[in-house]
């Protein structure tokens, strides 16, 4: 095995599952389930549990590893706001400049505009990657440096939103009837009710997706549904520009 290694940081498990599905569905990647297919660099990303943290039930982050004959991608999900801090610690432990052929962040714009999010990541990562991009177009940004550096802000690099904004668009293509019913159900909750429950911006989209997931995969998580159901499909890619742009971004990043 001598594949080029690409590390992509995302903010949560849903983003991780979504990106993993995009790579498998559109770009010919397979999920690495067997340690013997694991590239040496990623062996370090498998958590070795410390014996006495005092937090017996703590689960540590395990990246999704996907590969083709020539490429090996690790999608590392940090703990939201801890993403950059965790990535910096991990990068400090590897010879990242010579061992990575590309590094990217796929984040969402839930609290700030996409340009502001990109600038925030630039500020935080320039110590490790001085050329990290911060000016984004509709297909995000990828540099021609070595390693290649990229950033893509969900849902579309220009509007505020989250992964679920894009998933709702995917749902309109894959499950239009269910989407209609889910939206109708969600709309029964008054503004006062959701305020009392404590919804944050974009929680409506999250609840809509979760409603459909509970039908498609009863008792399972969103990540299982994103992975196994038809949210991400060729038909969705043809009809949803932001999904198509995400694929273009990944092709540039991976040089394929």
């Amino acid at each position: 095995m001598n594949r080029k290694c690409i590390l992509i940081g995302v903010e949560g498990n849903h983003d991780q599952a979504f990106l993993s599905k995009v790579l498998r569905e559109f770009l010919g990647f397979s999920k690495c389930e067997d340690q013997k297919n694991l590239d040496a660099l990623w062996r370090k990303f498998i958590p070795v549990y410390p014996p006495k943290t005092g937090r017996l039930h703590l689960r540590l982050d395990m990246p999704s590893i996907l590969y083709t004959d020539a490429l090996s991608v690790a999608i590392y999900a940090g703990e939201g706001s801890r993403l950059v801090a965790n990535l910096k610690d991990k990068l400090a432990d590897i010879d990242y400049l010579s061992s990575l052929s590309a590094f990217a962040i796929v984040a969402d714009a839930d609290k700030q505009k996409p340009a502001e999010v990109a600038k925030k990541y630039y500020d935080e990562l320039r110590e490790y990657f001085p050329d990290f991009p911060y000016e984004i177009s509709e297909t995000g940004a990828v540099t021609e440096t070595t390693p290649k550096l990229g950033i893509y802000i969900l849902p579309n690099n220009s509007d505020q939103g989250v992964l679920n904004t894009l998933l709702c668009a995917c749902g309109e293509v894959a499950y239009p009837v269910y989407m209609e019913r889910a939206k109708s159900y969600i709309s029964q909750f008054s503004e006062e009710e959701v305020k009392q429950i404590g919804w944050k911006p974009f929680d409506k989209e999250k609840a809509t997706v979760a409603t459909i997931v509970s039908i498609l995969k009863p008792g399972k998580t969103n990540t299982a549904s994103i992975s196994d159901n038809a949210w991400v499909s060729t038909r969705a890619e043809q009809q949803i520009l932001s999904l198509k742009n995400l694929t273009i971004f990944l092709r540039k990043l991976l040089s394929i």
Binding site: K44, P50, K90
Partner: protein
């Protein structure tokens, strides 16, 4: 809080190491890396750097790895030669000369040491011939007369011309190009090499614990008898109780059956009574050895190869807690190698501050050794928050 005598060390050339830099040293410095990455060589380089003119230290360092082997020991001169860096690819010709270069910063006066050797050859009167001639003057005279007539009484010997150059802070202010101290030594094979003992100063106190040195009794009694040990004997007993709760005291005694007047270390044990330390398990002997060595190196550098050796994982944390406490108490800077993740985790648990513990991972590359440095803060996050494997 002082982190110790050395603030940084760069091993430019030593054995197979090239340009290995340990920056911002801490009080406890842990060296990890795959086999043959140079961890033990770093400890050896520190021994030489801290005693650059003491040929006995050079020799003991050169032979350190063979301590546990009673047979097939490498000849002293050959072992010395292997301390030096040589040009690659190595062949017999290139072994005829070599160099060492180490620099450091901190309170130690020596800022850089450079050493070179060249192989030489000499003609000596054989031992058989020496026995025929009683005095040195007569020997010289007799040699002149008889060379050529009885060549079988003469022998060729290999030797080394060793030159050590030291650069110290004070004089370097005036001239940074010229060495402040230059010493030359001529060392010959088959000679009792420690005769050429060199100079003790300048030096920085060091003590070495190898993976097997606790199995040898040599020097243990001397260490135990030193008055400074008495100051922390009670704590040493606490340490030994990590291994065996029935240990109540340590004594230096002359065995009633001994005919050589040789003293030995005895342990007072609740169930066994007074028993020689040699009858106890490896763990007890190892911890006692570490404790005694630590007591001998106040204000200096403590070098432990394979820190976790002979200590059960369950005893690591308490043992290391003791070690860290006394390293601080005695202002000792510790350099230790380990292959054990449990040892790293245990040390993380018993240290608190950024400067307390620094981990260096050595990664040999084509032309130099890459060093990954993690201070206590990052190491703690990597291990406890991210579960990162940090040994390779």
């Amino acid at each position: 809080m002082s982190t110790g005598s050395l603030e940084s060390i760069t091993i430019h050339k030593f054995r197979g190491i090239r340009d290995l830099e340990l920056k911002d040293l801490g009080h406890i410095n842990l060296l990890v890396g795959i086999n043959n990455s140079g961890k033990t060589s770093v400890l050896e380089a520190l021994s030489i750097y801290c005693h650059p003119l003491d040929i006995r230290v050079w020799l003991s360092t050169a032979r350190q790895r063979e301590q546990e082997y009673r047979i097939s020991r490498t000849p002293s001169l050959d072992a010395l030669q292997w301390l030096f860096a040589h040009d690659f690819p190595l062949d017999r010709e290139k072994l005829k000369a070599g160099s060492i270069s180490i620099s450091g910063s901190g309170s130690f006066a020596v800022k850089q040491m450079k050493a070179t050797y060249e192989e030489i050859e000499g003609i000596f009167v054989s031992e058989k011939r020496r026995r025929l001639v009683p005095g040195d003057d007569q020997l010289a005279e007799s040699e002149d007369e008889q060379i050529g007539e009885s060549e079988d009484l003469l022998e060729f010997r290999k030797g080394l011309d060793l030159k050590v150059k030291l650069y110290t802070e004070q004089l370097s202010l005036f001239n940074s190009e010229e060495a402040d101290i230059i010493e030359d030594y001529q060392l010959w094979e088959h000679e009792f090499l420690s005769r050429a003992s060199g100079k003790r100063e300048p030096s920085l106190l060091t003590s070495v614990v190898t993976p097997a040195s606790h199995r040898s009794d040599i020097g243990q009694f001397r260490l135990l008898s030193e008055a400074r040990f008495l100051n922390f004997k009670a704590d040493v007993l606490d340490l030994l109780r990590q291994m065996d709760n029935n240990i109540s005291d340590i004594e230096i005694l002359l065995s009633s059956e001994s005919i050589s007047s040789r003293f030995n270390i005895y342990i007072q044990h609740e169930r066994l009574g007074l028993a020689p330390v040699s009858t106890f398990g490896d763990g007890v002997r190892r911890l006692l050895h570490i404790a005694l060595k630590l007591a001998s190196v106040r204000g200096g550098i403590f070098l432990i190869d394979e820190l976790e050796s002979a200590i059960h994982t369950e005893a690591l944390q308490n043992s290391f807690s003791w070690l860290v406490k006394w390293c601080k108490e005695m202002d000792v800077q510790l350099f230790a190698t380990t292959h054990s993740l449990e040892a790293v985790d245990a040390l993380l648990d018993v240290t608190e501050y950024e400067s307390d513990l620094v981990l260096y991972r050595l990664e040999p590359k084509d032309i130099q050794t890459r060093v990954v440095r993690h201070d206590w803060d990052r190491l703690k996050r990597l291990r406890e928050e991210l579960g990162q494997e940090i040994r390779w």
